[in-house]
Amino acid sequence: MALIEVQHLKKYFDVPNGTLHAVDDVSFVIEKGTTMGVVGESGCGKSTLGTTLIHLQESTGGKILFEGKDVTHLDKKQLHDYREDVQIIFQDPYSSLNPRYNIARTIMEPLEISGRFRSKADVRAEAERIMDLVGIEERLRGSYPHELDGGRRQRVGIGRALALNPKFIVCDEPVSALDVSIQAQVLNLLMDLQDQQQLTYLFVTHDLSVVRHISDNICVMYLGQLVETCSSKELFAKPLHPYTKALLSAIPSTDVDRKMQRVQLKGEITSPINPKPGCRFAARCPYATDACREPQQLREIEPKHFVQCCRIEELG
């Protein structure tokens, strides 16, 4: 069953030099209990996509369906209800926690606001349960964020997001500020919680090995556009879009025996302000032709494998 369906979602920002197309006509579906990974380079609009989905900012156009209901525009009361179902884990566990709240209070705050609990003791008990769940040791529950290391702080961030039993969580680069040994602990925790509670994730990251590990399906974004989407297995086994190919081949491998065949991209990501019509990747694409400067469509090239590239058939 589809938990979230996004149709032609757009998010533009007015900036001094024009309009910045952060998310431009993006459509996809996330099934309940699965993880959709969103990858792309910095500035491609992946975080904006996440925050727009959970109404931290209003979309400019398009539609968001949550459990079949249109949640694109919500009034205050509806938004309050929607926020109990959707939550976010932020990238930086150092700046996303209130430095003046201790850990227990950080977890208890959403519980109190929800009004689901009759007494302070009930809130306290629920907070204890959540802190047990995400593995925050008892001795640390009175501590303040600055007293914890990054991995534990991110556990607090996860605990806070889980407090109201949401159905959908946007994970915005939750492990990119952590060292590998700690990163593995947090990834395992997220996957365990998903199994236990049937959670649905939108997992935003620039780290391709992490996204492969955690995602069922993946969206590849480039400058606000969705260039390729399919299952995680398929994407890594058979990337089709020239950008995806370049992106995958750019990951340094830890295998000493394998020599990488690299598709080296020239140039850098261009500006998303007042973009020209057509494929945004054309400026860096080794296969670009005039046809690429025409508006592009996301097409199903193979079953459940969508690519936005007009030359995909020729390239083979």
Binding site: A184, N188, V210, L247, P252, L265
Partner: protein, 336 residues
Amino acid sequence: MSADNGKTVKSEESTFLDVRDLTVQYTSMGSVIHAVNGITFQLKKGETLALVGETGAGKTSIAKAILRILPDVSAKSKGTVIFNNTDLMQMKEKEMQKIRGHKISMIFQDPMTALNPTMRVGKQISEVISAHRSISTEEAVAEGKKMLEMVGIPAERYYEFPHQFSGGMKQRVVIAIALACNPELLLADEPTTALDVTIQAQVLELINDLKERLNTSMILITHDLGVVNETCDNVAVIYAGRIIESGSKYDVFKHPGHPYTNGLFGALPNMNLDSDRLSPIAGLLPDPTNLPDGCAFAPRCPYVTDKCRQGTIPAVEVEPGHFCECIRMDEIRKER
């Protein structure tokens, strides 16, 4: 470079950097932080050594101690750093200034803060050249433009300011500054960590290419094992300020010895395997103000015995040129 199955054979060439018993301590609020605790390594001409480890392992302190740019007030460093037969640690500050940026230079981690925001980028390159060579201003400008082009930035952008550059371009400017005087030794501190993968690939390619052309030796500091594999000949794994494992890249990656190194590989999501769970290393780095006796990794080590918690742990040569600081190495290898 790729003689017998990827191993690097360069032993005939003489050692030109010899670091012995290097220690760095910081004082902060009355307590002493033991950042680097007796590091010894050698580097040959043209060789690239990776220093790998987690945040707080002491990697950057090692590089800063070699270049003597640690803060005077709070940091103390001891040991010998023999570079081209002179001990840098004994050198007068005046002499040292002639070496910095000329013979040895450093690429800093964060390109956003390493550049002066109020100075034109080109000037920041020419400045280094003028400081170390007696040439006219015009020549320095011409050299600066040449360096910009070498790192793939058009010379006409010489007169722009850092904020007009993207992250990847800023990092390339930082590299151009570091390479401006053809240094013999390059200390690269996480040169690509702040960059996207496609830009990282470009920068690594650039560094590899320049290294080969100028025969520069390099110490690359990173926590990314993939980057190590793409650029380095030898690897030293740092844990709590000590080299706990060192050897050729091939040996360390193929047969990691130390339980910590093994743990690092296990914690990485593997691109080529479909594993369901990662195996994280339990626990955290020890408190550097209060390091345990014996092996610093003992509190997190699955193979720990009482003997691990006593005295200093000697390095064992597990293969020719492959060293491990672990007393249970032989037993652990049998168990696996």
